[in-house]
């Protein structure tokens, strides 16, 4: 069965790019547009990896990471945060919240796949 990945981003462009890249590599991809919606998806579906943006309305990425790590079915699911180049402090706060690693935006498809491979090989 293909690995299932949830991508969380309020930008449709970003979601499209992530989804396209991952589907092309044989992953099954779910989407959510903010942290709250992501929690909704996670409550009903087991995924193998979560990729989340930081800056989102309703619930930001760092809070989402904290929520997921706090307990439940996905407490030990790998989580990658999407950050911009200038986001060193965001990287740190995401990491402190329990994120597994990060991907720097903008990204090349190969880079995304290589990072995903490091935490959740296909």
């Amino acid at each position: 069965m293909p690995r299932k990945i949830l991508t969380v981003d309020d930008s449709r462009t970003m979601r499209d790019m992530v989804t396209y890249t991952l589907k092309g590599a044989g992953f099954d991809v779910l989407e959510a547009e903010d942290g709250v919606k992501a929690l909704g998806v996670l409550a009903s579906t087991r995924v193998d990896l979560i990729i989340t943006d930081i800056n989102m309305p309703n619930m930001d990425g760092v809070t989402l990471v904290k929520r997921v790590r706090a307990g439940g079915a996905h407490a030990s699911t790998p989580i990658l945060i999407l950050t911009t180049e200038s986001g060193d402090d965001r990287k740190a706060s995401g990491k402190a919240a329990g994120a597994t690693g990060w991907i720097v935006k903008p990204f090349a498809p190969e880079k995304l796949l290589s990072v995903v491979n490091k935490v959740c090989p296909a």
Binding site: T13, P57, P109
Partner: protein
């Protein structure tokens, strides 16, 4: 950064989506900006604008619209400062935001039409953004550290020995050593040895702990940095050393040792502990000179977790002790002694842990000389700043929260406190004004003074302005001190003319609110002609509070111990009912207003007669006194502060909550809010009934 290499069809499709999204984001941005112009303190709007700019930037980066990205970057940086309160949203900034939104939107249009903007497009606005950014408090720069130092390594095969020992944290963050080792394999020829020596006997095995380590030997054409990159995500969650083995192809290079996130000297960890804490060494070079490590740098997150855990421990200990005394009464003196010992240790442990978070106020104080210079320069005043007690320590969070109020007060002191040189000379003072900033400990509080030798508060003007603003009635008779207090009234700005320096007059009410949010208070003392002194009293930490547990009906409340002067049961003759229905208690010749906690909070079945209950005498931030009527005192206790607002809205009169020994929640009373609440309730009551005649 490499550019994405999507196929051209997909890229065109993504681009269409991007511009569709831009249209929505820009519309939202316009709307939010409108809201911001109308209500300048709208944090939600700032957040939304930031997100819009940020989203456009992320997409623009993906399609290589560099001019747009560059502009968005500045725009976003300024918005971020505003969001964090590190820059002020004044007229100038607002104008810049509006102009920036226009340029931003134009840049998106150009990108949409496939045109490259001229080099100087929007340069003036970009410059203004830059100027505003430079003007804001110099905080963490936006520049990022270089990804990995440019490598000029020649492609020769080398041998490395890599030691990798994950700690438990690595697993908690869902990293998997196996994947990392596999990734290593892609670099070259890898041999792996697993170190099982730290595996405990089966019955001592803890599934959440980490016991394994790996020693790898890698022969590959790569740099140490490339190896380090494999462990990029985990470098502070493991012990990792990468060393080049001398027996490599090129013997002329003296094997350099690259220690990526070296471990703390293992002696720090007790031998039984299978995982060294993995903290980074702090300035190991400096420490190396003295021959021993005197400090380590620890992730704040770990400290916070420790603080929380100890907080829970304090509660658990209190609960256990209470359950024990309830069930065994006093028939077991040894156990009782044990509990007391445990209580002592727990408290000591908590103090030790809190001490880890303590930092000198120096980091905030050190920003002030420049501020005084700048503001002095702008206002043409000659001002000297004297500081004392910079080494006084206070909780890290408090230090950070001090920056805004202090900046504001110092700016005010230069701008409004100190007179012009001519005026000073005329008053027989030296031309140079002096501002003193000092900090000292007082019990579990920190005391900060901001003092100037200026003209003192202009009481006539303050009063006139208060009347004009409808804060006090025109005929009111106020003492000098009461008039001074008016500067803390909401919406009150001390500047006669709005000056360039103090902006649009976000006044001392904001300072008071900030300080109160820290559980502290601020007082002013002014002597006409001699100067003004502000005193801030702030608890050393936000995590715990020394409280007095009081009972009111069925409920228990916590009063902050720092505000309590004394408590007593008044005699019948001490109580007076004043016209209008209010009550006062006379104590040592002073009349103090009484407030029934039960009435303010609507608690039924509480003691109604102060002579049957107790009066807790409170000193307010403004120096005034208040008698709070409660049923009885339960006892003094250090409580762990919990926020109500994580899951609910702010409750007037309540600053937070804590969990008592019996597991129940008790509310912490916001003393300063009490009078306001009481007055509001009284006004409602007054509207419903005629004033009662004096005397009881």
């Amino acid at each position: 950064m490499s550019t994405p290499t999507f196929g051209s069809d997909e890229l065109a499709q993504f681009r269409r989506t991007f511009f569709e999204e831009c249209t929505e984001l820009l519309a939202d941005l316009e709307e939010r900006l409108g809201a911001l112009v109308a209500f300048s303190s709208d944090v939600e709007s700032l957040n939304a604008i930031f997100r819009a700019v940020h989203s456009v930037k992320a997409g623009a980066g993906a399609f290589g619209y560099t001019v747009l990205v560059g502009f968005a970057h500045r725009f976003e940086a300024l918005l971020d400062r505003l969001r964090d309160g590190k820059a002020e949203l004044d007229e100038r900034t607002l104008a810049a935001l509006v102009a920036a939104a226009d340029v931003f939107s134009a840049l998106v249009d150009l990108a949409r039409q496939g045109e490259v903007p001229a080099d100087d497009f929007g340069a003036d606005v970009a410059e203004e953004l830059g100027a505003l950014l430079d003007g804001a408090a110099p905080t963490a720069s936006v520049a990022r550290p270089a990804e990995a130092a440019p490598e000029a390594a020649k492609p020769a095969e080398k041998s490395y020995r890599i030691l990798f020992r994950p700690n438990a944290e690595l697993f908690r963050h869902a990293n998997e050593p196996l994947y990392l080792i596999r990734e290593m394999k892609t670099l070259g020829e890898l041999t792996v040895d697993c170190d099982l020596s730290r595996l405990p006997p089966f019955d001592a095995f803890n599934i959440d702990d980490s016991y394994l380590g790996w020693t790898m030997t890698l022969r590959a054409v790569c740099t140490p940095a490339a190896i380090a990159e494999v462990f990029e995500f985990v470098d502070d969650e493991c012990v990792l050393t990468i060393e080049e083995i001398a027996a490599a192809v090129e013997p002329d290079e003296a094997s350099p040792v690259v220690a990526v996130a070296a471990t703390v000297a293992t002696t720090v960890a007790p031998p039984s502990d299978p995982q060294p804490s993995g903290s980074k060494p702090s300035e190991s070079k400096a420490a190396g000179k003295t021959g021993s490590i005197s400090s380590i740098r620890v992730d704040l997150y770990r400290v916070d977790r420790l603080v929380n855990m100890v907080g829970e421990l304090v509660i658990a200990q209190a609960m256990l002790a209470q359950q024990f005394t309830e069930s065994h009464s006093h028939d077991d003196p040894t156990a009782l002694q044990g509990f007391e010992h445990l209580a002592g240790l727990t408290r000591e442990l908590q103090e030790c842990v809190m001490a880890i978070r303590m930092q000198p106020v120096k980091s905030v104080f050190s920003r002030m000389p420049r501020l005084v210079r700048d503001v002095g320069h702008k206002t043409g005043k000659d001002v000297r700043l004297e500081m004392a007690g910079e080494q006084t320590e206070v909780d890290k969070t408090v230090v950070e929260e001090l920056a805004d109020p202090l900046t504001h007060m110092i700016r005010n002191a230069v701008d409004h406190g100190i007179e012009d040189a001519a005026e000073r000379l005329a008053a027989g003072k030296p031309a140079e004004g002096v501002i003193r900033l000092s900090a000292q400990h007082a019990g579990s509080n920190i005391l900060i003074h901001v003092e100037d030798d200026g003209a003192g508060l202009d009481r006539d003007r303050l009063f006139a302005k208060a009347v004009e603003k409808g804060i006090v009635p025109a005929g009111a008779k106020l003492t000098g001190e009461e008039i001074d207090e008016l500067i803390f009234a909401p919406g009150f700005s001390t500047a006669a003319a709005v000056t360039d320096v103090s902006g649009r007059g976000v006044g001392m009410d904001v300072v008071r609110r900030n300080v109160q949010a820290l559980g502290g208070r601020v007082q002013v003392m002014s002597t006409p002609g001699k100067g003004t002194r502000f005193t801030l009293v702030i608890p050393l930490t936000l995590a715990v509070l020394d409280g007095m547990v009081v009972a009111v009906g069925w409920e228990k409340y916590i009063l902050p111990l720092t505000s309590i002067v004394e408590s007593f049961r008044p005699g019948r003759g001490q109580i007076r009912v004043i016209p209008g229905g209010g009550e006062v208690v006379s104590i040592r010749g002073e009349f103090v207003r009484l407030i029934h906690l039960a009435r303010v909070f609507g608690v039924t079945e509480a003691v109604a007669d102060p002579c049957q209950g107790l009066v807790v005498l409170i000193e307010l931030a403004n120096g005034g006194k208040l008698g709070v009527v409660v049923d009885e005192l339960i006892g003094q206790q250090q409580v762990v502060i919990k926020s109500l607002q994580d899951n609910y809205d702010p409750v007037p009169g309540i600053s937070g909550a804590t969990i008592l020994g019996n597991g129940r929640v008790a509310l912490i009373v916001d003393i300063e809010e009490l009078t306001r609440l009481y007055d509001r309730n009284a006004r409602i009551a007054d509207a419903l009934r005629q004033p009662i005649a004096a005397n009881a």
